[in-house]
Symmetry: C2
Subunit: 246 residues, 2 copies
């Protein structure tokens, strides 16, 4: 039951495709849980789990006593999708654009107090420091500053880094990347930014700070992605939960 995707993911995919294709009209109700149970030959919990994922995606909305309402609106092609971790390369491939990455600097350092405060690595941690430029359709648009724990990837090279870093970590090292904490801010452009990115009239960068944890709960990556503001776009679906101060 691992080669074939889990049942709830299969059902999720089918329902998602139907919503996207318009098979379930926007603004109307999906079939009830009972109907879906008989269609997919599964338990109610499994149907509910699939629907729960669609809710998280902002595709549908549930209402007790009423049903599951389709609220799908096509998203912008160029946007990031939040709620999942997606690399630059994956986003570019999904949106059908041509992306390249080049390494501008690759050094080894120890985390000093200032860097420890900024990143959250313990003082003295051996780190790779990596500067990369991402081009989209031939134009540089993202300046990437990464700090990577050396003890998690001792044999990292600039060649590997210019390929997909995440593919290397996952496929070669068998590392499972589980959680990623992201912060979005807007910061004044630095000289380093302008050295590579043509900002035109803008004097700011959209900065995504990313802290990634492996399956052992160790933070192995701290990356600042400094985006050209004109191409930056982040999308998210929020579900309001009851406010509770227990």
């Amino acid at each position: 039951m691992v080669l074939a995707a889990q049942k709830f993911l299969q059902i999720y995919s089918v329902l998602k495709a139907r919503v996207e294709s318009g098979e379930y009209p926007v603004g109307q109700l999906l079939p009830s849980e009972n109907t879906l149970i008989t269609e997919f030959h599964c338990s109610r919990n499994t149907v509910r789990r699939a629907i729960g994922e669609l809710v998280r995606d902002g595709y549908v909305q549930t209402r007790q006593g009423w049903g599951v309402c389709n609220i799908f609106h096509p998203i912008e092609q160029t946007s990031y999708t939040m709620g999942t971790i997606e690399s630059f390369r994956e986003t570019a491939r999904r949106t059908g654009q041509k992306s390249t990455t080049r390494v501008e600097s690759f050094t080894r350092i120890l985390a000093d107090q200032a860097l420890a405060n900024q990143t959250g690595f313990p003082v003295g941690t051996p780190l790779f420091c990596l500067w990369r430029i991402h081009d989209l359709n031939g134009r540089p648009i993202i300046f990437n500053i990464s700090y990577l724990r050396e003890d998690c990837m001792p044999h990292l090279t600039p060649e590997i880094a210019s390929e997909s870093l995440y593919r290397y970590l996952e496929e070669e090292l068998g590392m499972v990347i589980v959680t990623s904490k992201r912060t979005i801010t807007v910061e004044p452009a630095t000289d380093l930014d302008r050295r590579w990115i043509d900002l035109g009239q803008y004097n700011c960068m959209a900065v995504v700070t990313n802290q990634a944890y492996n399956s052992q709960g160790v933070m192995f990556e701290y990356t600042q992605s400094r985006h050209h503001p004109a191409i930056f776009r982040f999308q998210d679906n929020a579900v309001r939960r009851p406010v509770q101060d227990l």
Copy 2:
């Protein structure tokens, strides 16, 4: 079982507090599901649901065959929390800052083609158009442009809007706000922005576009929140899900 919060939320709150207080040390495992079951006198599903919420919050991380690892790091005080919908007023109160809101303009319009394209409202929809300024500690920092469906809140007044709009909708009208789609972009500052917000050296705004849906699946609000870039900060926890192209 509705006055007393649901069981899984109670357990969630207790575990969350323990993680935040350091009762469960960072980097170590939480008690196993079985241990928690006996402590809370509940079923395994209920414990798992509580833990699932902590995972979504980026507080803990699970690993099959191993356990639940505490990866909590205190978040920035001034940051938004994604994954939940929180109003400006709620955020300010949570972070202990003094906030005020004033209405600069309150008009009624019909959605024309351009506005329909921008917002997603059907052409001809009667709308309230609302300009608000949010002050934090006496300084204007957010310029808010809202379009609100008139038929969802016929008796809206500027006085209500200067109070909490969401409180009015929820408590007075009984409207349940369920889903909210947000997009974050960085845009050049306009003359309208500069009329109210002192940007200093910056020439951009951090823009959060928000589309809110009520429980009937109707989009009733489209709001552009144009933030002073220096105080803007958005935080999020992403969980990597298996990529699957069924």
